[in-house]
Each structure stands twice: as structure tokens, then as C-alpha cells.
């Protein structure tokens, strides 16, 4: 991560505005015409907005992270059924009927499985088609997760830049006040 100039970076990513890096606080304040307090509240508001987006992205990330193992489990089951196909043996499986209550199922050799697609819809597929579909879903989920993680990293960078900017504007303001306070005293000392 080594872009040498701030202008080389993105100004926004997927709807998230980038936080502009300030080279010099004094120049920034005079150019934008803001007094320190307004600048501080602007940046703090930005920070809040970033936090809101971060919550949303984290929730999406948790969803995806739960979905991926689910798809992998389905793939495993289909693979097991396919492996059994040639042997002619039935597969005995104990499955949960309700919490703590299990029942036994006898699954004969089969060419097709039913996949739950969501929204109260279930479709029957051949084992091969099911494997292909599930693999696709898994790839998509993993790709979405990658994009999401990159979004979160970008967002966190903007949060960090904004936090540093707030600290710098605040420090600059404190320093300015101290200088202003010191100057009348110096003039009084010179007079006396």
C-alpha cells in the first residue's frame, strides 16, 4: 500500500465517500472558509456516517460467513449420495425432526436431489446439476465476501483518516488559542 500522492486514490468506493487527506491544517481551514468548530463538527458527522455504513457491512459479512459453510455442507451431502450411486446400497441417515428428536431415513440409489432455493421454493435437480449449482453459489458467495472485506478495509481507512484529521484540527485550534493568549502578555511585558 504505497500510493505516493493523496490525489492518486479513489474519491469514493461503492457509494462510500473517501476522506480527503489534509496536508496542512491552516491551509485547509482558510481554503474551506470554515472555523475550527465547524470543521470539527463536519468531520465528526462524517465519522458517524462511516460508522453507520460499517455496521451495515459487518452485518452483511456475518450473513455471508454463515451462508458459506451451509453451501459446503450441501455439497458434501450431494457428493456422498453420488459416491453411493454405483454401489446399490441404501444410505441410512438419522435426521433431526425436532429438537432432540431424530428419525431414521433410508435413502435408495437416486439420480436426483431437491435443493431448497429459498422463498418457499424447492427444485429437483440431477446430482450433477445440483453440484454445479451449489459450486456456483459457493463461488459467488466467496467472491462477494472478498469484495465486502475490501469495502470494509477502505471504510476503516477513511475512518482512520477522519479521526486523525479531527485530532489535528483540534490540536491546531488549541495551539492557536495558546499563541493568542501568550501574545498580549508579551506586549504587556515589553511595555513595562
Amino acid at each position: 500500500m504505497s500510493s505516493s500522492s493523496p490525489s492518486g486514490d479513489l474519491t469514493e468506493r461503492r457509494g462510500i465517500p473517501a476522506a480527503k487527506f489534509i496536508q496542512d491544517v491552516e491551509t485547509y481551514l482558510s481554503q474551506s472558509g470554515l472555523d475550527p468548530n465547524s470543521a470539527l463538527s463536519f468531520h465528526q458527522e462524517r465519522l458517524q456516517q462511516y460508522k453507520v455504513v460499517e455496521m451495515k457491512l459487518l452485518a452483511q459479512q456475518r450473513e455471508l460467513q454463515a451462508k458459506i459453510p451451509d453451501i459446503e455442507k450441501c455439497l458434501e451431502v450431494v457428493a456422498t449420495l453420488q459416491a453411493r450411486k454405483g454401489t446399490g446400497e441404501a444410505l441410512l441417515a438419522d435426521f433431526e425432526v425436532s429438537e432432540g428428536i431424530y428419525s431414521r431415513a433410508r435413502i435408495e440409489d437416486t439420480d436426483s436431489v431437491c435443493l431448497w432455493l429459498g422463498a418457499n421454493v424447492m427444485l429437483e435437480y440431477s446430482c450433477e446439476e445440483a453440484t454445479t449449482l451449489l459450486k456456483n453459489n459457493l463461488e459467488n458467495a466467496k467472491a462477494s465476501l472478498e469484495v465486502l472485506v475490501a469495502d470494509l478495509q477502505f471504510l476503516r481507512d477513511q475512518v482512520t483518516v477522519t479521526q486523525v484529521t479531527i485530532a489535528r484540527v483540534y490540536n491546531w485550534d488549541v495551539h492557536q488559542r495558546r499563541v493568542k493568549q501568550a501574545t498580549p502578555t508579551a506586549i504587556a511585558a515589553a511595555d513595562s
Partner: protein, 131 residues
């Protein structure tokens, strides 16, 4: 990680360059990844332990057909196949655990480097410790 306003004279000339900002950003990213890794390592260790226990249980059990969890159901699987499957799962989990530990080590050393650089420039004006 916070950057505190300093009440000493460093509030005056403490310029933050783009390079400093990038270092701070990198440190923040590494710190986040470090915490995520900690969680991942914990769950990988747990999985490894569970597989170890399962392997031991298998040796003690004397049934021919073991109920082995595939997906959401427990399929009746012959003992040998269960043994093979558990071995495979154990190997995969242990390998990924190793990789995670390696990544964690590398991140810890990268963070130590960055801490040195940032503390050198900012001394008391910056706080890079866990709160």
C-alpha cells in the same frame, strides 16, 4: 488505537504527512486482521480438538456402523470410511491452523515495526496500544 491531542508543545508543529497517514492506516488494518485471526485460530483449534476427540472415541467404539455427521444429518457409515474421513479433516484443519498462526506471527512483527516508526515520529501524541 487512538490519536490523542497532546497538551504539550507538540500540538504546534506536529505535521502529519501522507506517509504517516498511510502508516497509521496500515497499522489499523493490521490490528483489525490480528483480532479476526485470533478468533479464527480459536475456532480452528476447537475444531482440531473435536476431531482429535472424535478419533479417540472411534477407537473405543466397537460398532461397525458409525453415525457420522454429513451436512445436517447423521449418515450410517462403515467404520473404516469414518476413520479415513476424520483423518482427512484433521489434516486439513491442522494445516489451516498452521497457516493462520504463521499469518498472525507476520502481522505481529509488522505491527511492531510500524509502532517503532510511528512512536519515533509522534512520541506521546499517538497511542497505539490496546484499550
Amino acid at each position: 488505537m487512538q490519536q490523542q491531542g497532546s497538551s504539550s508543545s507538540s500540538g504546534s508543529g506536529m505535521e502529519v504527512t501522507w506517509e504517516d497517514q498511510q502508516n497509521i492506516n496500515t497499522f489499523s488494518r493490521l490490528n483489525n486482521r490480528f483480532h479476526d485471526l485470533d478468533d479464527e485460530i480459536k475456532s480452528a483449534k476447537e475444531k482440531c480438538d473435536n476431531l482429535e476427540d472424535a478419533g479417540n472415541e472411534l477407537i473405543l467404539a466397537d460398532e461397525e456402523m458409525i453415525r457420522f455427521q454429513i451436512g445436517e444429518v447423521f449418515a450410517h457409515v462403515p467404520r473404516d470410511e469414518v476413520e479415513t474421513r476424520i483423518e482427512e479433516m484433521k489434516e486439513a484443519t491442522c494445516k489451516s491452523l498452521e497457516k493462520l498462526e504463521e499469518e498472525k506471527e507476520s502481522i505481529v512483527s509488522q505491527m511492531a515495526e510500524l509502532k517503532k516508526v510511528l512512536y519515533a515520529k509522534f512520541k506521546d501524541s499517538i497511542n497505539l496500544e490496546e484499550d
